[in-house]
Amino acid sequence: MARILDLHLHSEASDDSRAPVEAYLKWLARKRDERPLEGLVLTEHRQFNQAGDYRDLEDKYGLLILKASEVETDYGHVLVYGVNEDILTRFDFKNVRLPAQEVITEVAHRGGIAMPCHPGRPTIGLIEHYQKKPPLEGVVGVEALNGGSKKGENERVAELIETYGYHAFGGSDSHLVSFVGLCATEFDRDIKTIEDLVEALRAGGYRPVDFRPQRPQPPLVS
Protein backbone atom coordinates (compact mmCIF):
# COMPACT_ATOMS: atom_id res chain seq x y z
CA MET A 1 0.00 0.00 0.00
CA ALA A 2 1.55 3.29 -1.06
CA ARG A 3 0.71 6.94 -1.50
CA ILE A 4 4.08 8.36 -2.49
CA LEU A 5 5.58 6.64 -5.53
CA ASP A 6 8.42 7.34 -7.91
CA LEU A 7 6.55 6.82 -11.20
CA HIS A 8 9.55 6.90 -13.53
CA LEU A 9 12.84 5.05 -13.12
CA HIS A 10 15.01 2.56 -14.92
CA SER A 11 16.80 -0.54 -13.68
CA GLU A 12 19.55 -2.60 -15.27
CA ALA A 13 16.87 -4.10 -17.51
CA SER A 14 17.14 -0.87 -19.53
CA ASP A 15 20.08 -0.50 -21.91
CA ASP A 16 21.31 2.73 -20.35
CA SER A 17 21.01 1.94 -16.63
CA ARG A 18 23.20 -0.25 -14.45
CA ALA A 19 21.08 0.11 -11.32
CA PRO A 20 19.93 -3.18 -9.74
CA VAL A 21 16.45 -2.90 -8.22
CA GLU A 22 17.71 -4.04 -4.82
CA ALA A 23 20.35 -1.29 -4.86
CA TYR A 24 17.54 1.26 -5.28
CA LEU A 25 15.74 -0.23 -2.31
CA LYS A 26 18.85 -0.24 -0.14
CA TRP A 27 19.49 3.39 -1.04
CA LEU A 28 15.93 4.38 -0.19
CA ALA A 29 16.21 2.58 3.15
CA ARG A 30 19.23 4.77 3.92
CA LYS A 31 17.52 7.94 2.71
CA ARG A 32 14.07 7.33 4.19
CA ASP A 33 14.04 10.62 6.09
CA GLU A 34 14.82 12.65 2.97
CA ARG A 35 12.81 10.63 0.45
CA PRO A 36 9.80 9.04 2.18
CA LEU A 37 8.80 6.82 -0.74
CA GLU A 38 6.38 3.94 -0.38
CA GLY A 39 6.59 2.59 -3.91
CA LEU A 40 8.48 2.49 -7.20
CA VAL A 41 7.34 2.02 -10.77
CA LEU A 42 10.03 0.60 -13.05
CA THR A 43 9.55 2.08 -16.51
CA GLU A 44 12.08 0.27 -18.68
CA HIS A 45 12.98 1.73 -22.06
CA ARG A 46 11.24 0.29 -25.15
CA GLN A 47 10.15 -2.89 -23.43
CA PHE A 48 8.00 -4.37 -20.71
CA ASN A 49 10.11 -6.43 -18.33
CA GLN A 50 7.90 -9.52 -18.19
CA ALA A 51 10.53 -11.57 -16.40
CA GLY A 52 11.16 -9.17 -13.54
CA ASP A 53 9.66 -10.59 -10.35
CA TYR A 54 10.20 -8.30 -7.37
CA ARG A 55 7.78 -9.80 -4.84
CA ASP A 56 10.58 -11.02 -2.55
CA LEU A 57 12.19 -7.59 -2.62
CA GLU A 58 8.84 -5.97 -1.83
CA ASP A 59 8.56 -8.15 1.26
CA LYS A 60 12.17 -7.63 2.29
CA TYR A 61 12.15 -3.83 2.00
CA GLY A 62 8.46 -3.06 2.57
CA LEU A 63 8.02 -1.05 -0.63
CA LEU A 64 5.54 -1.51 -3.46
CA ILE A 65 7.28 -2.30 -6.77
CA LEU A 66 5.26 -2.03 -9.97
CA LYS A 67 6.28 -2.45 -13.60
CA ALA A 68 5.54 -0.20 -16.59
CA SER A 69 7.30 0.99 -19.75
CA GLU A 70 8.72 4.08 -21.42
CA VAL A 71 8.05 4.06 -25.15
CA GLU A 72 9.16 6.43 -27.91
CA THR A 73 6.63 8.09 -30.20
CA ASP A 74 6.23 10.75 -32.83
CA TYR A 75 5.35 13.16 -30.00
CA GLY A 76 8.24 12.21 -27.74
CA HIS A 77 8.58 9.73 -24.90
CA VAL A 78 5.50 8.32 -23.18
CA LEU A 79 5.13 6.26 -20.00
CA VAL A 80 2.72 3.36 -20.29
CA TYR A 81 1.15 2.05 -17.07
CA GLY A 82 -0.99 -1.07 -16.94
CA VAL A 83 0.86 -2.86 -19.74
CA ASN A 84 -0.84 -6.15 -20.63
CA GLU A 85 -0.70 -8.78 -23.37
CA ASP A 86 -3.30 -6.93 -25.39
CA ILE A 87 -1.20 -3.76 -25.42
CA LEU A 88 2.00 -5.67 -26.20
CA THR A 89 0.30 -7.41 -29.11
CA ARG A 90 -0.94 -4.10 -30.50
CA PHE A 91 2.32 -2.14 -30.22
CA ASP A 92 5.96 -3.00 -30.90
CA PHE A 93 7.62 -1.20 -27.99
CA LYS A 94 11.01 -1.33 -29.75
CA ASN A 95 9.67 0.95 -32.49
CA VAL A 96 10.96 4.45 -31.68
CA ARG A 97 8.36 6.08 -33.94
CA LEU A 98 5.15 4.78 -32.43
CA PRO A 99 2.12 6.91 -33.34
CA ALA A 100 1.44 8.81 -30.11
CA GLN A 101 -2.26 9.35 -30.73
CA GLU A 102 -2.80 5.62 -31.22
CA VAL A 103 -0.75 4.84 -28.13
CA ILE A 104 -2.78 7.27 -25.97
CA THR A 105 -6.15 6.10 -27.31
CA GLU A 106 -5.60 2.39 -27.66
CA VAL A 107 -3.69 1.87 -24.44
CA ALA A 108 -6.67 3.45 -22.67
CA HIS A 109 -9.08 1.13 -24.51
CA ARG A 110 -6.96 -1.84 -23.47
CA GLY A 111 -7.00 -1.04 -19.77
CA GLY A 112 -3.86 1.02 -19.35
CA ILE A 113 -2.90 4.67 -19.42
CA ALA A 114 -0.21 6.40 -21.49
CA MET A 115 1.23 9.65 -20.15
CA PRO A 116 3.88 11.82 -21.81
CA CYS A 117 7.06 12.25 -19.78
CA HIS A 118 9.58 15.10 -19.59
CA PRO A 119 7.39 17.23 -21.90
CA GLY A 120 9.77 20.20 -21.69
CA ARG A 121 12.72 18.29 -23.11
CA PRO A 122 13.94 19.14 -26.64
CA THR A 123 13.13 16.65 -29.42
CA ILE A 124 11.56 14.01 -27.17
CA GLY A 125 9.18 16.22 -25.17
CA LEU A 126 5.54 16.98 -25.93
CA ILE A 127 5.88 20.78 -25.91
CA GLU A 128 8.20 20.93 -28.89
CA HIS A 129 5.86 18.67 -30.88
CA TYR A 130 2.81 20.74 -29.93
CA GLN A 131 4.53 23.73 -31.55
CA LYS A 132 4.49 21.89 -34.90
CA LYS A 133 1.53 19.50 -34.75
CA PRO A 134 -2.01 19.44 -33.35
CA PRO A 135 -2.40 18.51 -29.70
CA LEU A 136 -3.07 14.89 -28.81
CA GLU A 137 -6.55 13.88 -27.72
CA GLY A 138 -7.13 11.93 -24.55
CA VAL A 139 -4.01 12.95 -22.66
CA VAL A 140 -4.90 12.83 -18.96
CA GLY A 141 -1.66 14.02 -17.43
CA VAL A 142 2.00 14.76 -18.02
CA GLU A 143 5.17 14.38 -16.02
CA ALA A 144 5.53 17.92 -14.72
CA LEU A 145 8.53 17.15 -12.52
CA ASN A 146 11.30 14.99 -13.97
CA GLY A 147 14.47 14.37 -11.99
CA GLY A 148 16.61 14.03 -15.13
CA SER A 149 15.59 17.31 -16.68
CA LYS A 150 18.02 20.10 -17.33
CA LYS A 151 17.48 23.63 -16.09
CA GLY A 152 14.42 25.17 -17.70
CA GLU A 153 12.88 21.91 -18.97
CA ASN A 154 10.52 21.36 -16.00
CA GLU A 155 9.74 25.07 -15.87
CA ARG A 156 8.28 24.96 -19.41
CA VAL A 157 5.59 22.50 -18.36
CA ALA A 158 3.42 24.82 -16.23
CA GLU A 159 1.99 26.61 -19.25
CA LEU A 160 1.26 23.30 -21.00
CA ILE A 161 -0.69 22.08 -17.96
CA GLU A 162 -2.61 25.32 -17.66
CA THR A 163 -3.46 25.43 -21.36
CA TYR A 164 -4.69 21.85 -21.65
CA GLY A 165 -5.82 21.14 -18.09
CA TYR A 166 -3.58 18.11 -17.69
CA HIS A 167 -2.95 16.45 -14.36
CA ALA A 168 0.66 16.69 -13.19
CA PHE A 169 2.83 13.94 -11.78
CA GLY A 170 6.51 13.47 -10.98
CA GLY A 171 9.25 10.88 -11.32
CA SER A 172 12.98 10.75 -10.79
CA ASP A 173 13.80 9.26 -14.22
CA SER A 174 16.63 7.66 -12.29
CA HIS A 175 19.21 5.62 -14.14
CA LEU A 176 21.62 5.75 -11.19
CA VAL A 177 21.02 4.37 -7.72
CA SER A 178 21.53 7.64 -5.87
CA PHE A 179 18.90 9.47 -7.94
CA VAL A 180 15.97 7.25 -6.99
CA GLY A 181 13.02 9.05 -5.44
CA LEU A 182 14.36 12.58 -5.86
CA CYS A 183 11.11 13.40 -7.65
CA ALA A 184 7.88 11.46 -7.06
CA THR A 185 4.10 11.62 -7.00
CA GLU A 186 1.84 11.88 -3.99
CA PHE A 187 -1.63 10.34 -4.32
CA ASP A 188 -4.76 11.06 -2.26
CA ARG A 189 -5.59 7.36 -2.31
CA ASP A 190 -3.72 4.16 -1.51
CA ILE A 191 -2.08 2.27 -4.36
CA LYS A 192 -1.70 -1.48 -3.96
CA THR A 193 -1.63 -2.77 -7.53
CA ILE A 194 -0.95 -1.60 -11.06
CA GLU A 195 -4.72 -1.51 -11.59
CA ASP A 196 -5.04 0.88 -8.62
CA LEU A 197 -2.33 3.04 -10.14
CA VAL A 198 -4.02 3.22 -13.55
CA GLU A 199 -7.35 4.07 -11.95
CA ALA A 200 -5.78 6.75 -9.77
CA LEU A 201 -3.87 8.31 -12.67
CA ARG A 202 -7.09 8.49 -14.69
CA ALA A 203 -9.11 9.96 -11.83
CA GLY A 204 -6.76 12.69 -10.64
CA GLY A 205 -6.01 13.50 -7.02
CA TYR A 206 -2.21 13.44 -7.21
CA ARG A 207 0.63 15.88 -7.51
CA PRO A 208 4.39 15.90 -8.05
CA VAL A 209 6.60 16.05 -4.99
CA ASP A 210 10.17 17.27 -5.02
CA PHE A 211 12.68 15.70 -2.63
CA ARG A 212 15.76 17.19 -4.25
CA PRO A 213 18.00 19.00 -1.78
CA GLN A 214 17.39 22.70 -2.11
CA ARG A 215 20.45 24.82 -2.76
CA PRO A 216 20.89 27.68 -0.29
CA GLN A 217 19.94 30.99 -1.83
CA PRO A 218 22.74 33.56 -2.07
CA PRO A 219 22.24 36.58 0.17
CA LEU A 220 20.56 39.57 -1.42
CA VAL A 221 22.96 42.38 -2.15
CA SER A 222 21.52 45.86 -2.01
Partner: protein, 147 residues
Protein backbone atom coordinates in the same frame (compact mmCIF):
# COMPACT_ATOMS: atom_id res chain seq x y z
CA UNK B 1 8.67 1.56 -38.67
CA UNK B 2 11.26 -0.50 -36.84
CA UNK B 3 14.97 -0.21 -37.64
CA UNK B 4 15.77 -2.11 -40.83
CA UNK B 5 18.83 -4.31 -41.25
CA UNK B 6 19.67 -7.93 -42.00
CA UNK B 7 18.72 -9.58 -38.71
CA UNK B 8 20.48 -12.82 -39.67
CA UNK B 9 23.79 -11.18 -38.67
CA UNK B 10 22.71 -11.11 -35.02
CA UNK B 11 24.46 -13.88 -33.11
CA UNK B 12 26.71 -14.95 -36.00
CA UNK B 13 30.32 -15.53 -34.90
CA UNK B 14 32.52 -13.27 -37.04
CA UNK B 15 35.80 -13.81 -35.22
CA UNK B 16 37.46 -16.44 -33.05
CA UNK B 17 40.78 -15.48 -31.50
CA UNK B 18 42.88 -17.90 -29.45
CA UNK B 19 45.40 -16.23 -27.14
CA UNK B 20 48.72 -17.61 -25.87
CA UNK B 21 48.53 -19.11 -22.35
CA UNK B 22 48.24 -16.49 -19.61
CA UNK B 23 51.43 -16.14 -17.60
CA UNK B 24 51.99 -15.23 -13.96
CA UNK B 25 54.11 -12.28 -15.06
CA UNK B 26 51.33 -10.97 -17.27
CA UNK B 27 48.83 -11.08 -14.39
CA UNK B 28 51.18 -9.43 -11.91
CA UNK B 29 52.12 -6.73 -14.44
CA UNK B 30 48.48 -5.97 -15.19
CA UNK B 31 47.60 -5.83 -11.49
CA UNK B 32 50.62 -3.69 -10.67
CA UNK B 33 49.80 -1.26 -13.47
CA UNK B 34 46.36 -0.81 -11.90
CA UNK B 35 47.91 -0.08 -8.52
CA UNK B 36 46.35 -3.27 -7.16
CA UNK B 37 47.59 -4.32 -3.71
CA UNK B 38 45.38 -7.38 -3.15
CA UNK B 39 47.79 -10.36 -2.75
CA UNK B 40 45.34 -12.57 -4.69
CA UNK B 41 46.61 -10.81 -7.84
CA UNK B 42 50.27 -10.06 -7.10
CA UNK B 43 51.67 -12.55 -4.58
CA UNK B 44 51.72 -16.22 -5.58
CA UNK B 45 52.55 -17.48 -2.09
CA UNK B 46 49.89 -15.46 -0.30
CA UNK B 47 47.34 -16.18 -3.04
CA UNK B 48 47.95 -19.91 -2.54
CA UNK B 49 46.36 -19.59 0.90
CA UNK B 50 43.50 -17.46 -0.43
CA UNK B 51 40.03 -17.96 -1.83
CA UNK B 52 41.15 -19.44 -5.17
CA UNK B 53 44.08 -21.55 -3.95
CA UNK B 54 46.46 -19.67 -6.22
CA UNK B 55 47.12 -16.48 -8.11
CA UNK B 56 44.24 -15.17 -10.23
CA UNK B 57 43.92 -12.20 -12.57
CA UNK B 58 42.02 -9.07 -11.51
CA UNK B 59 38.45 -9.14 -12.86
CA UNK B 60 39.13 -6.58 -15.61
CA UNK B 61 42.08 -8.56 -16.98
CA UNK B 62 40.00 -9.82 -19.91
CA UNK B 63 39.47 -6.25 -21.16
CA UNK B 64 43.09 -6.19 -22.35
CA UNK B 65 42.40 -9.00 -24.80
CA UNK B 66 42.06 -7.84 -28.40
CA UNK B 67 40.24 -9.92 -30.99
CA UNK B 68 41.78 -10.21 -34.47
CA UNK B 69 38.70 -8.48 -35.81
CA UNK B 70 36.77 -6.05 -33.62
CA UNK B 71 33.87 -5.68 -36.05
CA UNK B 72 32.52 -7.85 -38.86
CA UNK B 73 33.40 -7.05 -42.48
CA UNK B 74 29.99 -5.64 -43.21
CA UNK B 75 29.20 -3.60 -40.13
CA UNK B 76 25.89 -1.79 -40.75
CA UNK B 77 26.07 1.99 -40.92
CA UNK B 78 23.17 4.05 -39.65
CA UNK B 79 24.76 7.47 -39.51
CA UNK B 80 27.68 9.60 -40.53
CA UNK B 81 29.73 9.24 -37.35
CA UNK B 82 30.31 6.52 -34.79
CA UNK B 83 31.89 6.51 -31.38
CA UNK B 84 32.40 4.42 -28.27
CA UNK B 85 29.11 4.01 -26.44
CA UNK B 86 30.61 2.22 -23.44
CA UNK B 87 31.09 -1.37 -22.45
CA UNK B 88 29.69 -3.86 -19.97
CA UNK B 89 31.74 -6.64 -18.44
CA UNK B 90 30.26 -9.72 -16.77
CA UNK B 91 32.73 -11.98 -14.98
CA UNK B 92 31.91 -15.69 -14.76
CA UNK B 93 35.13 -17.45 -13.69
CA UNK B 94 38.64 -16.44 -12.56
CA UNK B 95 41.55 -16.36 -14.99
CA UNK B 96 44.60 -18.27 -13.73
CA UNK B 97 48.19 -18.60 -14.95
CA UNK B 98 48.34 -21.21 -17.73
CA UNK B 99 44.79 -20.61 -18.92
CA UNK B 100 44.42 -20.55 -22.68
CA UNK B 101 41.67 -18.09 -23.48
CA UNK B 102 39.54 -18.00 -26.60
CA UNK B 103 37.38 -15.03 -27.58
CA UNK B 104 34.30 -15.45 -29.77
CA UNK B 105 32.87 -12.25 -31.25
CA UNK B 106 29.31 -11.69 -32.42
CA UNK B 107 26.93 -8.82 -33.08
CA UNK B 108 24.69 -9.22 -30.06
CA UNK B 109 22.13 -6.49 -30.75
CA UNK B 110 21.31 -3.51 -32.91
CA UNK B 111 18.80 -0.95 -31.76
CA UNK B 112 17.70 2.65 -32.11
CA UNK B 113 16.71 5.14 -29.48
CA UNK B 114 15.79 8.81 -29.38
CA UNK B 115 17.13 11.52 -27.12
CA UNK B 116 17.41 15.29 -26.75
CA UNK B 117 19.58 15.51 -29.85
CA UNK B 118 17.66 13.09 -32.08
CA UNK B 119 18.04 9.45 -33.12
CA UNK B 120 20.95 7.27 -32.05
CA UNK B 121 21.80 3.80 -33.27
CA UNK B 122 23.62 1.26 -31.15
CA UNK B 123 25.50 -1.82 -32.33
CA UNK B 124 26.46 -4.16 -29.51
CA UNK B 125 29.55 -6.28 -30.21
CA UNK B 126 29.75 -9.19 -27.77
CA UNK B 127 33.05 -10.86 -26.89
CA UNK B 128 32.59 -14.14 -25.07
CA UNK B 129 35.77 -15.39 -23.40
CA UNK B 130 36.23 -19.08 -22.60
CA UNK B 131 39.11 -21.00 -21.08
CA UNK B 132 40.70 -24.27 -22.25
CA UNK B 133 38.06 -26.27 -20.34
CA UNK B 134 35.29 -24.54 -22.24
CA UNK B 135 34.18 -22.63 -19.16
CA UNK B 136 32.76 -19.19 -19.76
CA UNK B 137 35.20 -16.73 -18.18
CA UNK B 138 33.67 -13.39 -19.14
CA UNK B 139 31.28 -11.62 -21.48
CA UNK B 140 32.18 -8.16 -22.73
CA UNK B 141 29.56 -6.07 -24.54
CA UNK B 142 30.92 -3.10 -26.49
CA UNK B 143 28.41 -0.48 -27.62
CA UNK B 144 29.18 1.37 -30.82
CA UNK B 145 26.97 4.43 -31.16
CA UNK B 146 26.21 5.89 -34.56
CA UNK B 147 24.30 8.96 -35.57
Amino acid sequence: MALEFDRSMIGQVFDETVFPPVTTEEIVEFATALGETNPLYIDETAAGKGLYGGLVAPPTFVTKLRAKKFTPDHLPKFGKVGFDGGRDLAIHAPVRPGDQLTMLSTIHDIYEKTGRTGSMYFIVIRNEVKNQKGEKVAVIDHRIMQR
